[in-house]
Protein backbone atom coordinates (compact mmCIF):
# COMPACT_ATOMS: atom_id res chain seq x y z
CA UNK A 1 0.00 0.00 0.00
CA UNK A 2 2.68 2.43 1.04
CA UNK A 3 4.80 1.29 -1.87
CA UNK A 4 2.06 2.01 -4.41
CA UNK A 5 1.40 5.32 -2.74
CA UNK A 6 5.04 6.29 -3.04
CA UNK A 7 5.18 5.19 -6.64
CA UNK A 8 2.05 7.20 -7.34
CA UNK A 9 3.68 10.19 -5.64
CA UNK A 10 6.79 9.89 -7.77
CA UNK A 11 4.70 9.67 -10.91
CA UNK A 12 2.51 12.58 -10.01
CA UNK A 13 2.50 15.10 -12.92
CA UNK A 14 3.79 17.84 -10.62
CA UNK A 15 6.69 15.71 -9.34
CA UNK A 16 9.09 17.01 -12.00
CA UNK A 17 8.15 20.60 -11.28
CA UNK A 18 8.64 20.07 -7.56
CA UNK A 19 12.01 18.45 -8.15
CA UNK A 20 13.10 21.28 -10.42
CA UNK A 21 12.01 23.91 -7.91
CA UNK A 22 13.84 22.09 -5.12
CA UNK A 23 17.00 21.90 -7.20
CA UNK A 24 16.83 25.57 -8.09
CA UNK A 25 16.30 26.62 -4.49
CA UNK A 26 19.35 24.61 -3.41
CA UNK A 27 21.56 25.92 -6.21
CA UNK A 28 20.46 29.48 -5.62
CA UNK A 29 20.92 29.17 -1.89
CA UNK A 30 24.37 27.70 -2.25
CA UNK A 31 25.33 30.36 -4.79
CA UNK A 32 24.04 33.15 -2.58
CA UNK A 33 25.89 31.75 0.42
CA UNK A 34 29.11 31.47 -1.56
CA UNK A 35 28.91 34.88 -3.19
CA UNK A 36 28.05 36.69 0.07
CA UNK A 37 31.02 34.85 1.50
CA UNK A 38 33.36 36.32 -1.09
CA UNK A 39 31.95 39.82 -0.64
CA UNK A 40 32.32 39.59 3.10
CA UNK A 41 35.93 38.53 2.96
CA UNK A 42 37.03 40.86 0.18
CA UNK A 43 38.01 44.33 1.27
CA UNK A 44 40.13 45.10 -1.76
CA UNK A 45 43.47 46.61 -0.77
CA UNK A 46 44.35 49.32 -3.31
CA UNK A 47 48.08 48.94 -2.86
CA UNK A 48 48.54 45.18 -2.61
CA UNK A 49 50.50 43.51 -5.35
CA UNK A 50 47.80 40.85 -5.62
CA UNK A 51 45.07 43.39 -6.44
CA UNK A 52 47.20 45.00 -9.10
CA UNK A 53 48.15 41.63 -10.59
CA UNK A 54 44.50 40.56 -10.72
CA UNK A 55 43.57 43.91 -12.27
CA UNK A 56 46.32 43.57 -14.85
CA UNK A 57 45.05 40.15 -15.90
CA UNK A 58 41.50 41.48 -16.22
CA UNK A 59 42.78 44.46 -18.15
CA UNK A 60 44.79 42.42 -20.60
CA UNK A 61 41.87 40.07 -21.18
CA UNK A 62 39.16 42.70 -21.56
CA UNK A 63 40.56 46.13 -22.32
CA UNK A 64 43.92 45.70 -24.04
CA UNK A 65 42.43 45.28 -27.53
CA UNK A 66 41.69 49.00 -27.68
CA UNK A 67 43.79 50.51 -24.89
CA UNK A 68 46.97 48.49 -25.53
CA UNK A 69 48.63 45.78 -23.42
CA UNK A 70 50.29 48.32 -21.14
CA UNK A 71 47.33 50.79 -21.29
CA UNK A 72 49.47 52.97 -23.51
CA UNK A 73 46.57 53.54 -25.95
CA UNK A 74 46.06 52.56 -29.59
CA UNK A 75 44.34 54.09 -32.56
CA UNK A 76 41.06 52.70 -31.19
CA UNK A 77 41.32 53.88 -27.61
CA UNK A 78 43.14 56.51 -25.56
CA UNK A 79 46.04 55.92 -23.19
CA UNK A 80 44.85 55.22 -19.64
CA UNK A 81 48.07 56.19 -17.93
CA UNK A 82 47.21 58.83 -15.36
CA UNK A 83 43.41 58.70 -15.71
CA UNK A 84 43.16 57.41 -12.15
CA UNK A 85 41.04 54.88 -10.35
CA UNK A 86 38.00 57.18 -10.39
CA UNK A 87 37.84 57.13 -14.19
CA UNK A 88 37.95 53.33 -14.40
CA UNK A 89 35.45 52.93 -11.58
CA UNK A 90 33.06 55.26 -13.42
CA UNK A 91 33.49 53.87 -16.94
CA UNK A 92 33.45 50.18 -15.99
CA UNK A 93 31.19 50.55 -12.94
CA UNK A 94 28.39 52.14 -14.98
CA UNK A 95 28.77 49.60 -17.79
CA UNK A 96 30.12 52.10 -20.35
CA UNK A 97 33.35 50.12 -20.68
CA UNK A 98 34.16 47.68 -22.18
CA UNK A 99 32.63 49.67 -25.01
CA UNK A 100 29.95 47.98 -27.09
CA UNK A 101 30.93 49.75 -30.29
CA UNK A 102 32.68 52.86 -31.49
CA UNK A 103 30.22 55.71 -31.85
CA UNK A 104 29.50 59.26 -30.82
CA UNK A 105 29.76 58.23 -27.18
CA UNK A 106 29.99 55.09 -25.06
CA UNK A 107 26.51 53.79 -24.24
CA UNK A 108 25.50 52.50 -20.85
CA UNK A 109 24.80 48.79 -20.65
CA UNK A 110 24.64 46.15 -17.90
CA UNK A 111 27.83 46.15 -15.85
CA UNK A 112 30.19 43.44 -17.09
CA UNK A 113 32.25 42.86 -13.93
CA UNK A 114 31.67 42.30 -10.24
CA UNK A 115 32.36 45.15 -7.86
CA UNK A 116 35.63 43.51 -6.86
CA UNK A 117 36.79 43.12 -10.42
CA UNK A 118 35.95 46.79 -11.12
CA UNK A 119 38.05 47.81 -8.12
CA UNK A 120 40.94 45.55 -9.19
CA UNK A 121 40.89 47.08 -12.67
CA UNK A 122 40.70 50.57 -11.19
CA UNK A 123 43.68 50.06 -8.87
CA UNK A 124 45.71 48.47 -11.64
CA UNK A 125 45.17 51.54 -13.85
CA UNK A 126 45.83 53.82 -10.85
CA UNK A 127 49.17 52.05 -10.35
CA UNK A 128 50.29 53.15 -13.84
CA UNK A 129 50.28 56.84 -13.04
CA UNK A 130 48.79 59.24 -10.48
CA UNK A 131 45.19 60.31 -11.10
CA UNK A 132 41.91 61.01 -9.28
CA UNK A 133 41.05 58.35 -6.71
CA UNK A 134 37.68 56.82 -5.90
CA UNK A 135 36.04 59.37 -3.55
CA UNK A 136 35.61 58.76 0.17
CA UNK A 137 32.18 57.73 1.39
CA UNK A 138 31.40 60.93 3.33
CA UNK A 139 31.64 62.95 0.09
CA UNK A 140 29.11 60.91 -1.84
CA UNK A 141 26.44 59.93 0.70
CA UNK A 142 24.33 63.07 0.15
CA UNK A 143 24.90 64.67 3.56
CA UNK A 144 25.65 68.18 2.28
CA UNK A 145 23.80 71.41 1.61
CA UNK A 146 21.22 70.84 -1.13
CA UNK A 147 20.58 74.57 -1.69
CA UNK A 148 24.25 75.33 -2.36
CA UNK A 149 24.42 72.22 -4.53
CA UNK A 150 21.41 73.40 -6.52
CA UNK A 151 23.05 76.76 -7.25
CA UNK A 152 26.29 75.08 -8.38
CA UNK A 153 24.30 72.60 -10.43
CA UNK A 154 22.42 75.39 -12.19
CA UNK A 155 25.65 77.23 -13.00
CA UNK A 156 27.87 74.31 -13.99
CA UNK A 157 25.70 71.35 -14.96
CA UNK A 158 22.11 72.31 -15.79
CA UNK A 159 22.82 73.58 -19.32
CA UNK A 160 23.60 70.04 -20.46
CA UNK A 161 21.98 67.78 -17.85
CA UNK A 162 18.71 69.81 -17.55
CA UNK A 163 17.81 71.69 -14.38
CA UNK A 164 15.85 68.65 -13.14
CA UNK A 165 18.74 66.32 -14.05
CA UNK A 166 16.71 64.75 -16.85
CA UNK A 167 19.56 64.92 -19.38
CA UNK A 168 19.64 66.54 -22.80
CA UNK A 169 20.93 66.41 -26.35
CA UNK A 170 24.35 67.58 -27.51
CA UNK A 171 25.80 67.77 -31.00
CA UNK A 172 26.01 64.98 -33.57
CA UNK A 173 24.43 62.15 -31.61
CA UNK A 174 26.08 62.87 -28.30
CA UNK A 175 23.96 63.52 -25.25
CA UNK A 176 24.18 64.33 -21.56
CA UNK A 177 22.63 61.36 -19.74
CA UNK A 178 19.86 61.73 -17.16
CA UNK A 179 21.10 61.87 -13.56
CA UNK A 180 17.91 60.50 -12.04
CA UNK A 181 19.32 57.11 -11.08
CA UNK A 182 23.08 57.63 -10.88
CA UNK A 183 24.83 56.77 -7.63
CA UNK A 184 26.70 59.43 -5.66
CA UNK A 185 30.08 57.80 -6.28
CA UNK A 186 29.57 57.81 -10.04
CA UNK A 187 28.38 61.45 -10.06
CA UNK A 188 31.49 62.46 -8.12
CA UNK A 189 33.80 60.46 -10.39
CA UNK A 190 32.20 61.95 -13.50
CA UNK A 191 32.81 65.48 -12.21
CA UNK A 192 36.45 64.75 -11.39
CA UNK A 193 37.34 62.86 -14.55
CA UNK A 194 35.09 64.35 -17.25
CA UNK A 195 34.06 61.16 -19.04
CA UNK A 196 33.32 61.25 -22.79
CA UNK A 197 32.75 64.86 -23.78
CA UNK A 198 31.88 66.14 -20.35
CA UNK A 199 34.31 68.82 -19.18
CA UNK A 200 36.46 68.16 -16.12
CA UNK A 201 35.40 69.87 -12.88
CA UNK A 202 38.53 69.52 -10.78
CA UNK A 203 38.72 70.16 -7.05
CA UNK A 204 39.90 73.75 -7.57
CA UNK A 205 36.87 74.53 -9.72
CA UNK A 206 34.27 72.78 -7.57
CA UNK A 207 35.73 71.81 -4.19
CA UNK A 208 35.08 68.31 -2.78
CA UNK A 209 32.59 69.83 -0.32
CA UNK A 210 30.79 71.59 -3.17
CA UNK A 211 30.73 68.31 -5.10
CA UNK A 212 29.13 66.71 -2.05
CA UNK A 213 26.50 69.47 -2.11
CA UNK A 214 25.79 68.88 -5.82
CA UNK A 215 25.32 65.17 -5.08
CA UNK A 216 23.05 66.09 -2.15
CA UNK A 217 20.91 68.17 -4.52
CA UNK A 218 20.69 65.34 -7.05
CA UNK A 219 19.81 62.87 -4.30
CA UNK A 220 17.12 65.31 -3.15
CA UNK A 221 15.74 65.36 -6.71
CA UNK A 222 15.85 61.56 -6.83
CA UNK A 223 13.95 61.28 -3.54
CA UNK A 224 11.47 64.11 -4.17
CA UNK A 225 9.99 63.68 -7.57
CA UNK A 226 7.97 66.43 -9.23
CA UNK A 227 5.22 67.58 -6.83
CA UNK A 228 2.78 68.60 -9.56
CA UNK A 229 1.18 66.14 -11.94
CA UNK A 230 2.79 64.38 -14.88
CA UNK A 231 6.49 65.07 -15.41
CA UNK A 232 6.54 64.02 -19.07
CA UNK A 233 10.23 63.24 -18.66
CA UNK A 234 11.01 66.72 -17.22
CA UNK A 235 12.25 67.57 -20.71
CA UNK A 236 10.71 71.03 -20.64
CA UNK A 237 8.53 72.96 -23.05
CA UNK A 238 9.09 70.74 -26.11
CA UNK A 239 7.77 67.57 -24.49
CA UNK A 240 4.94 69.45 -22.81
CA UNK A 241 4.04 71.28 -26.01
CA UNK A 242 4.00 68.07 -28.01
CA UNK A 243 1.76 66.44 -25.40
CA UNK A 244 -0.76 69.25 -25.39
CA UNK A 245 -0.74 69.54 -29.19
CA UNK A 246 -1.49 65.88 -29.64
CA UNK A 247 -3.76 65.06 -26.71
CA UNK A 248 -5.24 68.48 -25.90
CA UNK A 249 -6.04 69.40 -29.48
CA UNK A 250 -7.07 65.80 -30.16
CA UNK A 251 -9.65 66.03 -27.37
CA UNK A 252 -10.92 69.37 -28.67
CA UNK A 253 -11.27 67.98 -32.20
CA UNK A 254 -13.10 64.90 -30.88
CA UNK A 255 -15.54 67.04 -28.85
CA UNK A 256 -16.14 69.33 -31.82
CA UNK A 257 -16.94 66.35 -34.03
CA UNK A 258 -19.32 65.05 -31.37
CA UNK A 259 -21.07 68.42 -30.97
CA UNK A 260 -21.66 68.89 -34.69
CA UNK A 261 -22.55 65.29 -35.54
CA UNK A 262 -26.22 64.59 -35.99
CA UNK A 263 -27.81 62.48 -33.34
CA UNK A 264 -29.08 59.05 -34.36
Amino acid sequence: MTRTKRRAGRRHPLATVALLALGLVFTGGAYAALSTGTVAQAEIDPNSQQTIEEGKKLFQANCATCHGLEAQGTANGPSLIGVGAASVDFQVGTGRMPMQMQGPQAQQKPVQFTDDQVKQLAYYVASLGPGPDIPADHLVNGGGDAANGAELFRINCAMCHNVAGAGGALTEGKFAPPLTDVSGVHIYEAMVTGPQNMPVFNDLNITPEDKRDVITYLKYLQDNRSPGGFELGSLGPVAEGLFIWIFGLGAIVAITVWITAKSN
Partner: protein, 358 residues
Protein backbone atom coordinates in the same frame (compact mmCIF):
# COMPACT_ATOMS: atom_id res chain seq x y z
CA UNK B 1 -40.25 77.27 -33.94
CA UNK B 2 -38.07 80.08 -32.70
CA UNK B 3 -38.05 83.38 -34.49
CA UNK B 4 -35.48 86.12 -34.60
CA UNK B 5 -36.44 89.73 -33.95
CA UNK B 6 -36.95 90.77 -37.56
CA UNK B 7 -39.98 88.83 -38.61
CA UNK B 8 -41.16 85.33 -38.97
CA UNK B 9 -41.17 85.61 -42.74
CA UNK B 10 -37.39 85.44 -42.99
CA UNK B 11 -37.40 82.07 -41.31
CA UNK B 12 -38.27 79.72 -44.10
CA UNK B 13 -39.65 76.27 -43.59
CA UNK B 14 -37.44 73.35 -44.41
CA UNK B 15 -39.21 72.32 -47.59
CA UNK B 16 -39.37 75.76 -49.28
CA UNK B 17 -36.51 75.50 -51.71
CA UNK B 18 -37.52 78.78 -53.36
CA UNK B 19 -36.85 80.84 -50.29
CA UNK B 20 -33.84 82.60 -51.80
CA UNK B 21 -35.59 83.61 -54.99
CA UNK B 22 -38.64 84.86 -53.12
CA UNK B 23 -36.61 87.20 -50.95
CA UNK B 24 -37.06 90.63 -52.53
CA UNK B 25 -35.43 93.07 -50.08
CA UNK B 26 -32.29 95.11 -50.77
CA UNK B 27 -29.31 92.91 -51.41
CA UNK B 28 -26.95 95.31 -49.64
CA UNK B 29 -23.35 94.60 -50.55
CA UNK B 30 -24.02 90.95 -51.29
CA UNK B 31 -22.94 89.67 -54.72
CA UNK B 32 -25.84 87.82 -56.34
CA UNK B 33 -24.66 85.82 -59.34
CA UNK B 34 -27.38 85.26 -61.92
CA UNK B 35 -26.29 81.83 -63.00
CA UNK B 36 -26.39 80.68 -59.40
CA UNK B 37 -26.39 77.02 -58.68
CA UNK B 38 -29.94 76.12 -57.82
CA UNK B 39 -30.52 75.46 -54.17
CA UNK B 40 -31.33 71.76 -53.91
CA UNK B 41 -33.02 72.33 -50.56
CA UNK B 42 -32.61 70.12 -47.56
CA UNK B 43 -32.30 66.38 -47.51
CA UNK B 44 -35.52 64.75 -46.36
CA UNK B 45 -35.94 65.12 -42.63
CA UNK B 46 -34.74 62.06 -40.76
CA UNK B 47 -36.29 61.48 -37.37
CA UNK B 48 -33.98 60.44 -34.52
CA UNK B 49 -34.44 57.37 -32.36
CA UNK B 50 -35.51 59.70 -29.54
CA UNK B 51 -38.29 61.04 -31.79
CA UNK B 52 -39.65 57.59 -32.50
CA UNK B 53 -38.99 55.51 -29.42
CA UNK B 54 -40.39 56.90 -26.17
CA UNK B 55 -38.06 54.64 -24.15
CA UNK B 56 -35.03 56.11 -25.90
CA UNK B 57 -36.42 59.55 -25.25
CA UNK B 58 -36.80 58.74 -21.55
CA UNK B 59 -33.25 57.44 -21.47
CA UNK B 60 -31.87 60.56 -23.15
CA UNK B 61 -33.77 62.65 -20.64
CA UNK B 62 -32.27 60.64 -17.81
CA UNK B 63 -28.77 61.08 -19.26
CA UNK B 64 -29.18 64.84 -19.50
CA UNK B 65 -30.43 65.38 -15.97
CA UNK B 66 -27.86 62.92 -14.62
CA UNK B 67 -25.14 65.03 -16.23
CA UNK B 68 -26.57 68.17 -14.66
CA UNK B 69 -26.78 66.46 -11.26
CA UNK B 70 -23.16 65.30 -11.70
CA UNK B 71 -22.25 68.91 -12.34
CA UNK B 72 -23.91 69.93 -9.06
CA UNK B 73 -22.04 67.09 -7.35
CA UNK B 74 -18.76 68.33 -8.86
CA UNK B 75 -19.33 71.87 -7.61
CA UNK B 76 -20.19 70.66 -4.12
CA UNK B 77 -17.17 68.33 -4.18
CA UNK B 78 -14.87 71.19 -5.18
CA UNK B 79 -16.02 73.13 -2.12
CA UNK B 80 -15.68 70.06 0.07
CA UNK B 81 -12.20 69.31 -1.31
CA UNK B 82 -11.11 72.84 -0.48
CA UNK B 83 -11.96 72.09 3.15
CA UNK B 84 -10.93 68.43 3.23
CA UNK B 85 -7.48 68.91 1.65
CA UNK B 86 -6.22 72.22 3.05
CA UNK B 87 -2.77 73.61 2.26
CA UNK B 88 -1.65 74.16 5.80
CA UNK B 89 1.76 72.57 6.08
CA UNK B 90 4.77 73.31 3.92
CA UNK B 91 4.25 69.98 2.25
CA UNK B 92 4.16 70.11 -1.54
CA UNK B 93 2.15 66.89 -1.47
CA UNK B 94 -0.68 68.80 0.22
CA UNK B 95 -0.66 71.38 -2.58
CA UNK B 96 -0.82 68.58 -5.09
CA UNK B 97 -3.82 66.87 -3.44
CA UNK B 98 -5.62 70.18 -2.95
CA UNK B 99 -5.16 71.23 -6.58
CA UNK B 100 -6.03 67.81 -7.94
CA UNK B 101 -9.29 67.32 -6.03
CA UNK B 102 -10.55 70.89 -6.47
CA UNK B 103 -9.63 70.61 -10.15
CA UNK B 104 -11.47 67.32 -10.56
CA UNK B 105 -14.58 68.82 -8.93
CA UNK B 106 -14.50 71.95 -11.08
CA UNK B 107 -13.90 69.86 -14.21
CA UNK B 108 -16.88 67.67 -13.42
CA UNK B 109 -19.02 70.75 -12.75
CA UNK B 110 -18.20 72.45 -16.06
CA UNK B 111 -18.11 69.35 -18.26
CA UNK B 112 -21.40 68.16 -16.74
CA UNK B 113 -23.15 71.38 -17.78
CA UNK B 114 -21.49 71.40 -21.22
CA UNK B 115 -22.06 67.78 -22.14
CA UNK B 116 -25.58 67.84 -20.66
CA UNK B 117 -26.56 70.91 -22.66
CA UNK B 118 -25.15 69.55 -25.92
CA UNK B 119 -26.76 66.16 -25.38
CA UNK B 120 -30.09 67.84 -24.62
CA UNK B 121 -29.83 69.89 -27.82
CA UNK B 122 -28.86 66.92 -29.94
CA UNK B 123 -31.32 64.32 -28.72
CA UNK B 124 -34.38 66.08 -27.27
CA UNK B 125 -34.75 69.58 -28.75
CA UNK B 126 -36.51 69.79 -32.08
CA UNK B 127 -34.48 68.59 -35.01
CA UNK B 128 -36.41 70.23 -37.85
CA UNK B 129 -34.04 71.91 -40.31
CA UNK B 130 -34.68 75.56 -41.17
CA UNK B 131 -33.11 78.52 -42.95
CA UNK B 132 -32.54 81.87 -41.30
CA UNK B 133 -31.90 84.15 -44.25
CA UNK B 134 -29.25 86.81 -43.87
CA UNK B 135 -30.70 90.32 -44.05
CA UNK B 136 -28.89 93.39 -45.40
CA UNK B 137 -27.07 95.44 -42.80
CA UNK B 138 -27.38 98.87 -44.48
CA UNK B 139 -30.00 101.28 -43.15
CA UNK B 140 -32.89 102.65 -45.19
CA UNK B 141 -32.40 105.53 -47.62
CA UNK B 142 -34.10 107.94 -45.19
CA UNK B 143 -31.85 106.87 -42.28
CA UNK B 144 -28.72 107.38 -44.38
CA UNK B 145 -29.90 110.81 -45.52
CA UNK B 146 -30.69 111.70 -41.92
CA UNK B 147 -27.21 110.76 -40.75
CA UNK B 148 -25.58 112.85 -43.48
CA UNK B 149 -27.84 115.76 -42.56
CA UNK B 150 -26.86 115.48 -38.87
CA UNK B 151 -23.15 115.66 -39.77
CA UNK B 152 -23.67 118.59 -42.14
CA UNK B 153 -25.67 120.46 -39.56
CA UNK B 154 -23.11 119.79 -36.83
CA UNK B 155 -20.33 121.03 -39.05
CA UNK B 156 -22.28 124.21 -39.83
CA UNK B 157 -23.18 124.89 -36.21
CA UNK B 158 -19.69 124.20 -34.82
CA UNK B 159 -17.89 125.94 -37.65
CA UNK B 160 -15.43 123.06 -37.95
CA UNK B 161 -14.89 123.61 -41.69
CA UNK B 162 -15.23 127.38 -41.52
CA UNK B 163 -12.92 128.24 -38.62
CA UNK B 164 -9.79 126.69 -40.08
CA UNK B 165 -7.34 128.12 -37.54
CA UNK B 166 -9.21 126.52 -34.65
CA UNK B 167 -9.53 123.24 -36.50
CA UNK B 168 -5.89 123.03 -37.50
CA UNK B 169 -4.65 123.97 -34.07
CA UNK B 170 -6.82 121.21 -32.62
CA UNK B 171 -5.35 118.68 -35.06
CA UNK B 172 -1.89 119.89 -34.13
CA UNK B 173 -2.64 119.47 -30.42
CA UNK B 174 -3.92 115.95 -30.97
CA UNK B 175 -0.79 115.04 -32.93
CA UNK B 176 1.49 116.46 -30.23
CA UNK B 177 -0.36 114.78 -27.39
CA UNK B 178 1.22 111.26 -27.72
CA UNK B 179 4.75 112.63 -28.18
CA UNK B 180 5.62 112.72 -24.44
CA UNK B 181 4.75 109.02 -24.18
CA UNK B 182 7.09 108.20 -27.06
CA UNK B 183 9.90 110.29 -25.57
CA UNK B 184 9.34 108.81 -22.12
CA UNK B 185 10.17 105.38 -23.53
CA UNK B 186 13.74 106.61 -23.33
CA UNK B 187 13.31 106.25 -19.57
CA UNK B 188 13.44 102.47 -19.96
CA UNK B 189 17.11 102.79 -20.90
CA UNK B 190 19.64 103.77 -18.21
CA UNK B 191 19.75 107.52 -17.68
CA UNK B 192 22.76 109.72 -18.50
CA UNK B 193 24.29 106.87 -20.46
CA UNK B 194 24.31 106.06 -24.12
CA UNK B 195 22.78 102.63 -24.78
CA UNK B 196 25.24 101.87 -27.56
CA UNK B 197 28.12 102.53 -25.18
CA UNK B 198 26.54 100.29 -22.54
CA UNK B 199 26.11 97.48 -25.05
CA UNK B 200 29.64 97.87 -26.33
CA UNK B 201 31.49 97.63 -23.02
CA UNK B 202 31.49 95.20 -20.12
CA UNK B 203 32.99 95.14 -16.65
CA UNK B 204 36.19 93.54 -17.91
CA UNK B 205 39.18 95.86 -17.89
CA UNK B 206 42.94 95.53 -18.04
CA UNK B 207 44.09 93.56 -15.02
CA UNK B 208 40.64 92.36 -13.81
CA UNK B 209 41.06 88.89 -12.35
CA UNK B 210 38.92 86.05 -13.62
CA UNK B 211 36.80 84.71 -10.74
CA UNK B 212 34.58 81.68 -10.21
CA UNK B 213 30.83 81.96 -10.55
CA UNK B 214 29.14 82.17 -8.00
CA UNK B 215 31.79 82.39 -5.23
CA UNK B 216 33.93 85.14 -6.77
CA UNK B 217 37.18 83.34 -5.90
CA UNK B 218 39.96 84.30 -8.36
CA UNK B 219 41.28 81.53 -10.57
CA UNK B 220 44.95 80.59 -10.96
CA UNK B 221 46.14 79.41 -14.34
CA UNK B 222 47.46 76.25 -12.69
CA UNK B 223 43.95 75.41 -11.39
CA UNK B 224 42.62 75.02 -14.90
CA UNK B 225 43.50 71.50 -15.98
CA UNK B 226 43.13 70.30 -19.57
CA UNK B 227 39.52 69.50 -20.40
CA UNK B 228 38.19 71.82 -17.70
CA UNK B 229 35.37 74.30 -18.17
CA UNK B 230 35.10 77.14 -15.64
CA UNK B 231 32.14 79.48 -15.41
CA UNK B 232 33.68 82.87 -14.87
CA UNK B 233 32.66 86.33 -13.67
CA UNK B 234 34.91 89.38 -13.25
CA UNK B 235 36.40 89.72 -9.78
CA UNK B 236 34.47 92.39 -7.88
CA UNK B 237 31.17 91.65 -9.56
CA UNK B 238 29.63 90.15 -6.45
CA UNK B 239 30.59 93.26 -4.45
CA UNK B 240 28.62 95.57 -6.75
CA UNK B 241 25.90 97.47 -4.91
CA UNK B 242 23.44 97.55 -7.79
CA UNK B 243 23.32 96.60 -11.43
CA UNK B 244 24.94 93.27 -10.56
CA UNK B 245 22.74 91.19 -12.85
CA UNK B 246 23.07 93.69 -15.71
CA UNK B 247 26.85 93.51 -15.48
CA UNK B 248 26.84 89.72 -15.13
CA UNK B 249 24.60 89.37 -18.16
CA UNK B 250 27.25 91.09 -20.25
CA UNK B 251 30.45 89.89 -18.59
CA UNK B 252 29.74 86.15 -18.18
CA UNK B 253 32.65 84.15 -19.58
CA UNK B 254 33.39 80.47 -20.16
CA UNK B 255 37.00 79.50 -19.52
CA UNK B 256 38.34 76.31 -21.10
CA UNK B 257 41.72 74.66 -21.32
CA UNK B 258 42.57 72.71 -24.45
CA UNK B 259 45.69 70.86 -25.40
CA UNK B 260 47.68 73.77 -26.95
CA UNK B 261 48.47 71.57 -29.96
CA UNK B 262 44.74 71.39 -30.76
CA UNK B 263 44.26 75.14 -30.70
CA UNK B 264 44.42 76.85 -34.12
CA UNK B 265 45.11 80.47 -33.35
CA UNK B 266 45.51 83.32 -35.79
CA UNK B 267 48.81 85.19 -35.35
CA UNK B 268 47.12 88.42 -34.23
CA UNK B 269 45.26 86.62 -31.46
CA UNK B 270 47.97 84.16 -30.42
CA UNK B 271 48.75 86.27 -27.36
CA UNK B 272 45.10 86.25 -26.20
CA UNK B 273 45.29 82.77 -24.71
CA UNK B 274 47.58 81.32 -22.06
CA UNK B 275 49.04 77.85 -22.58
CA UNK B 276 45.83 76.48 -24.07
CA UNK B 277 43.54 78.41 -21.71
CA UNK B 278 40.97 80.42 -23.64
CA UNK B 279 38.12 82.64 -22.44
CA UNK B 280 35.03 83.37 -24.52
CA UNK B 281 31.89 85.36 -23.89
CA UNK B 282 29.06 83.08 -22.81
CA UNK B 283 26.41 85.25 -24.50
CA UNK B 284 25.29 83.87 -27.86
CA UNK B 285 25.66 86.27 -30.77
CA UNK B 286 22.28 85.14 -32.10
CA UNK B 287 19.77 86.25 -29.45
CA UNK B 288 21.83 86.20 -26.28
CA UNK B 289 21.22 82.81 -24.65
CA UNK B 290 24.06 81.55 -22.45
CA UNK B 291 26.22 79.22 -24.55
CA UNK B 292 27.83 76.75 -22.19
CA UNK B 293 27.26 73.24 -23.51
CA UNK B 294 30.95 72.49 -23.95
CA UNK B 295 32.19 69.18 -25.33
CA UNK B 296 35.76 68.69 -24.20
CA UNK B 297 36.89 66.35 -27.00
CA UNK B 298 35.22 67.90 -30.05
CA UNK B 299 35.74 71.44 -28.62
CA UNK B 300 32.25 72.34 -29.73
CA UNK B 301 30.13 74.81 -27.84
CA UNK B 302 26.40 74.35 -28.35
CA UNK B 303 23.77 76.98 -27.71
CA UNK B 304 20.71 75.22 -26.29
CA UNK B 305 18.19 77.75 -27.62
CA UNK B 306 18.66 77.50 -31.39
CA UNK B 307 21.45 74.94 -31.77
CA UNK B 308 24.17 77.32 -32.91
CA UNK B 309 27.55 75.60 -32.63
CA UNK B 310 30.88 77.29 -32.11
CA UNK B 311 34.30 75.70 -32.56
CA UNK B 312 36.45 76.66 -29.59
CA UNK B 313 39.60 75.39 -31.32
CA UNK B 314 39.10 77.91 -34.14
CA UNK B 315 38.31 81.13 -32.26
CA UNK B 316 34.71 80.04 -31.73
CA UNK B 317 33.77 80.35 -35.36
CA UNK B 318 30.17 79.42 -36.14
CA UNK B 319 30.00 75.89 -37.56
CA UNK B 320 26.24 75.41 -37.40
CA UNK B 321 23.06 77.28 -36.67
CA UNK B 322 21.68 80.80 -36.91
CA UNK B 323 24.43 82.71 -35.04
CA UNK B 324 26.05 85.26 -37.32
CA UNK B 325 29.34 86.03 -35.59
CA UNK B 326 31.87 84.06 -33.54
CA UNK B 327 31.67 84.45 -29.78
CA UNK B 328 33.84 87.39 -28.69
CA UNK B 329 37.13 86.30 -27.13
CA UNK B 330 38.39 87.81 -23.89
CA UNK B 331 42.16 88.37 -24.12
CA UNK B 332 43.74 86.87 -21.00
CA UNK B 333 47.15 86.78 -19.35
CA UNK B 334 48.63 85.74 -16.02
CA UNK B 335 49.71 88.21 -13.34
CA UNK B 336 52.82 87.80 -11.20
CA UNK B 337 50.86 85.89 -8.55
CA UNK B 338 49.74 83.29 -11.06
CA UNK B 339 46.13 84.48 -11.32
CA UNK B 340 44.38 84.78 -14.66
CA UNK B 341 43.65 88.39 -15.59
CA UNK B 342 42.00 90.10 -18.53
CA UNK B 343 44.30 91.99 -20.89
CA UNK B 344 41.45 94.37 -21.69
CA UNK B 345 37.71 94.47 -22.17
CA UNK B 346 36.24 92.47 -25.04
CA UNK B 347 37.39 94.05 -28.27
CA UNK B 348 33.87 93.93 -29.72
CA UNK B 349 30.37 94.16 -28.24
CA UNK B 350 29.17 90.87 -26.75
CA UNK B 351 25.84 89.28 -27.49
CA UNK B 352 23.31 89.70 -30.27
CA UNK B 353 23.10 92.38 -32.92
CA UNK B 354 21.53 95.75 -32.24
CA UNK B 355 20.73 98.78 -34.37
CA UNK B 356 24.31 100.07 -34.59
CA UNK B 357 25.87 96.59 -34.86
CA UNK B 358 24.72 94.00 -37.31
Amino acid sequence: MAQDDHSGTELAAADSSHAVQEFAGSTGTAVIPHDAFENPGFEPHRPRVTDEDPRREKRAQRTVYTLFYLSILGSVWAIAAYMLFPIESNDVGAVRLNNMFIGLGATLALLGIGFGAVHWGKTLMTSAESIDIRHPISGSEATQQGAVEVFRQADEESGFSRRTVIRNSLIGALLAFPLPAVVLFRGFAPQDQIPVELLSHTMWAKGTRLALDPSGVPIRAADVTIGSAFHVIPEGLIDLEHGKLEEKAKAAVLLMRLDPSELNETPDRASWSYDGIVAYSKICTHVGCPVALYEQHTHHLLCPCHQSQFDVANHCEVIFGPAKRPLPQLPIAVDDEGYLIAQSDFTEPVGPSFWERH
